[in-house]
């Protein structure tokens, strides 16, 4: 190997290839359903936030008296607001389903040395959801 006249060590330039790095596009999630579904799932938390804000607004209006509450109810009856509520409800249901699907993955429950199957971890979540929904339905329709 070549050495420099005054330097006994081999003299060479270390080869470092020029790597190509691709910038990640802002729209990386488009074009693949699992990634679109992930973005929709993340966006669905806005739907949950909307229902929380709406419930708080209703409680606040109730505290302000019957007239304020009636005005809010009137506003909620508008077709545009009803349509918005339907869309938000669909997103909230999607949020719930994805949350319940995620729960068994995070909870590795083991019984008698074996991992409890995912459906068995998810089932109580769905049961609690149904029970809460049934109670709310009964409460609203009890006459």
């Amino acid at each position: 190997m070549d050495t420099h006249p005054t330097n006994p060590l081999p003299h060479y330039t270390e080869y470092h290839p020029r790597w190509y790095r691709q910038r990640v596009s802002t729209y990386w999630w488009l074009g693949s359903w699992p990634y679109v579904r992930f973005i929709l799932r993340e966006l669905s938390s806005l739907a949950v936030a909307f229902f929380v804000a709406l419930t708080l607004a209703q409680i606040y209006a109730l505290g302000q008296g019957a007239q304020v509450y009636a005005e809010l109810q009137e506003w909620l009856r508008q077709p545009v607001v009803l349509a918005l509520n339907v869309v938000v409800l669909l997103f909230a249901v999607f949020h719930t389903l994805t949350w319940f699907a995620a729960a068994p993955k995070a909870m590795a429950v083991r019984m008698r040395g074996k991992r409890v199957p995912e459906w068995a971890v998810a089932a109580p979540h769905y049961a609690a959801w149904m029970a809460a929904s049934a109670f709310v339905t009964w409460f609203l329709l009890r006459g």
Binding site: P17, R18, W19, Y20, R21, Q22, V24, W28, W29, G31, S32, P34, Y35, F38, E42, A102, K105, A106, M107, A108, R110, G113, K114, R115
Partner: protein, 245 residues
């Protein structure tokens, strides 16, 4: 079955190209061929300069991971006939720098893997005379799934968090850390916690879940990460309740 199939292969020469280009190759479509066989056919018969990594050809070494029609795949385990009737686009694994053609630079992954300390840590070793550390089948079962990782980095190519935040430790390294945390012989969970319970560790994960979908060994890194999040959160709550922190 058609006689040939078109492969659209990424070519990148660091000496000549500013960015990668696609090159078309027509290869025989044989029922027993996987994508890797087609690439080897090109290298042997058409263009010897085509550069790609491979070794075992049987889904064990984890070297031949590439993007096949936009999905991270082990090319030795992906049959060519699955793509019959359309072109097959073969690209280097996403989110890693490209060295040449289909070869990526994975030093970043190797550094992160080391930070996760994927080895048995013992505070005290018992004397040799006392024999080996015994483990029941149930104890083995708690971590076995996570131990199947072959470091193929397909999960990194499927993880947009890793693509957008290069500090994120990533799915395989986190799953392997959890593999040792769950091992009854290991005593290093506290040591690993500094790296794992960190914004660049499990808290960086937004649970896209694609790491688990693309894993050729069914390791479920997404599950390992979510389970660790639960454990780290419980640890934090306990530290608040415990007198003296």
């Amino acid at each position: 079955m058609a006689e040939t199939i078109t492969l659209d292969v990424t070519r990148y020469s660091p000496e000549h190209d500013h960015k990668p280009v696609l090159q078309l190759f027509e290869v025989p479509l044989r029922p027993e061929w996987v994508i890797l066989d087609a690439l080897n056919y090109i290298k042997d018969k058409v263009d010897g300069s085509l550069t790609f990594r491979w070794s075992c050809r049987m889904g064990v070494c984890g070297s031949c991971g590439m993007m096949v029609n936009g999905e991270p795949k082990l090319t030795c385990a992906t049959f060519l006939h699955k793509y019959e009737g359309r072109a097959v686009r073969v690209e280097p694994l996403r989110y890693f720098p490209v060295v040449r053609d289909l070869v990526t630079e994975i030093s970043d992954f190797m550094r992160k893997l080391k930070r996760a300390k994927p080895w048995l840590i013992r505070r005290t070793e018992k004397p040799l005379a006392e024999g080996e550390y015994l483990q029941t089948p149930e104890q083995l079962d708690t971590y076995k799934q996570f131990s199947m990782c072959i470091n193929c980095t397909l999960c990194y190519a499927a993880c947009p968090v890793y693509g957008l935040d290069s500090e994120f430790i990533g799915p395989a390294a986190l799953a392997l850390a959890q593999r040792y945390n769950l091992d009854s012989r290991d005593q290093g969970a506290e040591e690993r916690m500094l790296t794992l319970a960190h914004p660049d560790g499990v808290w960086g994960c937004t649970f896209v879940g694609e790491c688990t979908s693309v894993c050729p060994k069914h390791v479920d890194p997404a599950g390992a990460i979510q389970q660790y999040k639960l454990k780290a959160a419980m640890h934090w709550v306990k530290s608040l309740l415990k007198p003296g922190g």
